[in-house]
């Protein structure tokens, strides 16, 4: 009787620790989202102070990554988790790496924004950058939402979105190339612009990764580098298995 209540107590504390871990990851996600928002805002409004603030604040994200990493290692060592718990911790370790990279890219965008802001001439394709930026922001937001809700459908939607982002990125690159060929004096500026677009596209990829980890977390299937149709089939099969066994 006593040992049972003791083990119950342990698992409850373990649950609380896992829940805390989840919240910490989402807190880090919130911070990264804010940095991305500010970086995109800095590009659009041409505010160099805003841009520099993002690139100077990157250390906060890095510190959170280190803290969460440490917490994961502690949980692995002391609790020796299995199955879904283990998947959550593995997923968290991967997610924070991606989030940290997003932070780096946001810092890069902030730095480039402060560069571009000193350029007096406004550039028409900022509106395309804005569209791309908003698209990527939404992807990251939805990926984190899918994680907090453990929602596979939302996660799959994010993975689909990545294709559109890649297309938008290609368009901006093409536009930059043609503008650079027109007037070679603008090469420097458009190099910066295409770097920003590149960074945003990378952030889209990281958001996609996070969405893939969510599918892995819920279904235990690794769907990276797999065609969408195959993924959907596999998920259907997994659903069938589960309902047959229950």
């Amino acid at each position: 009787m006593e040992s049972e209540s003791f083990s119950h107590h342990i698992s409850r504390r373990f649950n609380a620790e896992l829940e805390h871990l989840r919240s910490e990851v989402l807190r880090m996600g919130g911070l990264v989202e804010q940095h991305l928002d500010t970086a995109v805002e800095a590009i659009i409004s041409g505010d160099s102070d805003l841009g520099l603030r993002v690139s100077n604040d990157d250390h906060k994200i890095n510190r959170l990554e280190v803290d969460i990493d440490e917490e994961c290692r502690k949980l692995l060592a002391t609790r020796m988790p299995a199955a879904a718990d283990l998947r959550l911790i593995v997923m968290v370790i991967k997610t924070i790496t991606d989030l940290e990279r997003v932070g780096d890219e946001a810092a890069k965008i902030g730095y480039l924004a402060s560069h571009l802001a000193t350029d007096r001439e406004r550039y028409a394709s900022y509106s395309e950058l804005k569209a791309l930026g908003e698209h990527v922001q939404e992807m990251l937001h939805d990926a984190l939402d899918a994680f907090s809700r453990m929602d596979v459908d939302d996660a799959l939607a994010v993975i689909e979105e990545d294709k559109l982002v890649d297309e938008e990125y290609d368009q901006i690159t093409r536009q930059c190339i043609s503008l650079m060929m027109e007037d070679s004096r603008t090469i420097r500026r458009f190099m910066d612009v295409s770097w920003v677009a590149r960074a945003l596209e990378r952030i889209g990829d990281h958001a996609k990764n996070i969405a893939e980890y969510v599918v892995y977390l819920v279904h235990g299937r690794d769907i990276r580098h797999t065609e969408r149709e195959v993924v959907l089939q596999e998920l259907e099969a997994a659903k069938g298995d589960r309902s047959a066994s229950s």
Binding site: E19, R22, S23, L26, R27, G29, G30, L31, E33, Q34, D37, E134, Q137, H141, L144, D145, S148, R149, D151
Partner: protein
């Protein structure tokens, strides 16, 4: 005792006595009593059984009849049941009305438990926060509203009244979130769409910043030519005084433009990072030097440095806090008066006090002197060269350093301006 009970007691007593008498005839009076008592016991059991059946059958079953004490018991239960039913109906209707009214509420409301988990929410909250039906109950609110400012507010709601965050649903939408604790464990999160207000504020701030920025360049040109004119020997002597007045006025205007620009920057209200150490002694002595450079100043401007502690924050902003306070004090203090700048640290944090023996501020003005362009005494301050923005700048710069401004003053007896810095803003070496 009600009559029915008396009668029942008498009847049962009679039955027992009858049993005893019949038993006595057969020489077994105890057995007679026992048999009658058993009979009565089974009769009660039977009635109890009928009561239980009737209750179990719910409201359709007819009230059972019986005798003795049972009919009144049945009737009372019937009455209580009816009352409970009516009350339940009333409560259901009340609940429905209440729910309908919270649904109709234009502001979003989310009920959180002590773990910040979502217990319930209304229609407006669902739309504003993009919550998903049913599934988000039990989810921790900070997992969905991840904005760092909001999480800070959630973890220490005492610090602020409310917090503005961008909506998780769409761009350009801002939400004001307010936490109202109620009951032992629960908190109500009120959410209001403030996009319009935030937009207007931003437009105003941008306008002031842009306008003052644009005013600066023509002003520089004017001042340059005025300087050249003042030094040009060919200008008739009669024109010298007007040129000097123009120079003074353009200096004043430049200061005004600079103050406006600074204020619009400070107004964005974000807390200044704590990673840089600001030398308090240095900014105090700079402020003192600036004060001595003013055309009229009291002879005594003293610095009392009671603590070696320094501050964490932005040096230019803290310098402008001290300089503004000191130049204010100097401006309103006669030459024979005294201005004291004091820096001290105690358990509550750091205190920076600027005290003067000047004209003082009346009680009704104290609450308003930090408003921009507010003049305690009409024209007099303008003659003394202030822009009317100094204390507004002080207030906003202090807010960015999590500090408060306390003003103590009596008319004719001088004033004291104290900035209270929290302990985590101090660099104790």
């Amino acid at each position: 005792m009600p009559k029915v009970w008396t009668w029942t007691l008498i009847r049962y007593g009679g039955a027992l006595a009858g049993g005893a008498f019949i038993g006595f005839l057969y020489d077994h009076s105890l057995l007679g009593i026992l048999l009658v008592a058993l009979g009565l016991l089974f009769w009660q059991l039977y009635n109890l059984y009928r009561l239980e059946r009737w209750l179990a059958a719910g409201r359709i079953a007819e009230v059972p009849d019986g005798d003795g004490v049972w009919p009144p018991v049945f009737a009372k239960i019937q009455f209580i049941k009816g009352k409970a039913k009516r009350r339940g109906k009333r409560f259901r209707k009340l609940l429905k009305d209440l729910r309908a009214s919270t649904e109709a509420f234009p502001d979003g409301g989310v009920i959180l438990n002590s773990n910040h988990e979502i217990v319930n929410y209304n229609q407006a909250a669902r739309v504003l926060l993009g919550l998903k039906n049913r599934r988000d109950r039990g989810q921790r609110i900070e997992n969905l509203l991840r904005y760092p400012d909001f999480i800070d507010y959630l973890n220490s709601p005492g610090d602020r009244q409310a917090v503005d965050i961008p909506s998780p649903v769409g761009p350009d939408t801002w939400l004001s979130c307010r936490l109202i604790p109620y009951g032992p464990e629960q908190t109500l999160l009120l959410i209001r769409d403030v996009s319009q207000r935030v937009k207007i504020e931003r437009v105003r701030r941008d306008f002031v910043a842009n306008a003052s920025h644009e005013l600066r360049s023509p002003l520089t040109v004017i001042m340059g030519y005025l300087d050249a004119l003042a030094e040009d020997g060919r200008i008739p002597e009669a024109w010298q005084p007007p040129i000097r007045v123009m120079q003074d006025q353009s200096v004043r205007m430049r200061r005004l433009v600079e103050d406006l620009l600074q204020l619009s920057k400070l107004e964005s209200g974000q807390s200044v990072p704590r990673d840089r150490v600001v030398d308090v002694a240095a900014i105090l002595s700079t402020a003192r030097k600036e004060a001595f450079a003013l055309p009229e100043h009291p002879d005594a401007i003293e610095i009392e440095l009671d603590s070696p502690a320094n501050l964490l924050g932005e040096e230019t902003e803290l310098q402008s806090v001290v300089s503004n306070l000191v130049s204010n004090a100097v401006r309103y203090t006669p030459p024979e008066g005294e201005v004291t700048i004091r820096w001290s640290v105690d358990a509550d944090g750091g205190h920076l006090e600027v005290r003067d023996t000047g004209i003082g501020i009346s009680e009704e003005d104290i609450s308003r002197v930090t408003e921009r362009f507010y003049r305690a005494d009409g024209g007099r301050a303008r003659q003394r060269g202030g822009t009317g923005l100094g204390l507004a700048i002080v207030k906003h710069a202090l807010r960015r350093h999590d500090a408060d401004l306390e003003i103590r003053s009596r008319l004719g007896q001088g004033s004291s301006f104290v900035c209270h810095f929290p302990r985590d803003r101090l660099a104790l070496s």
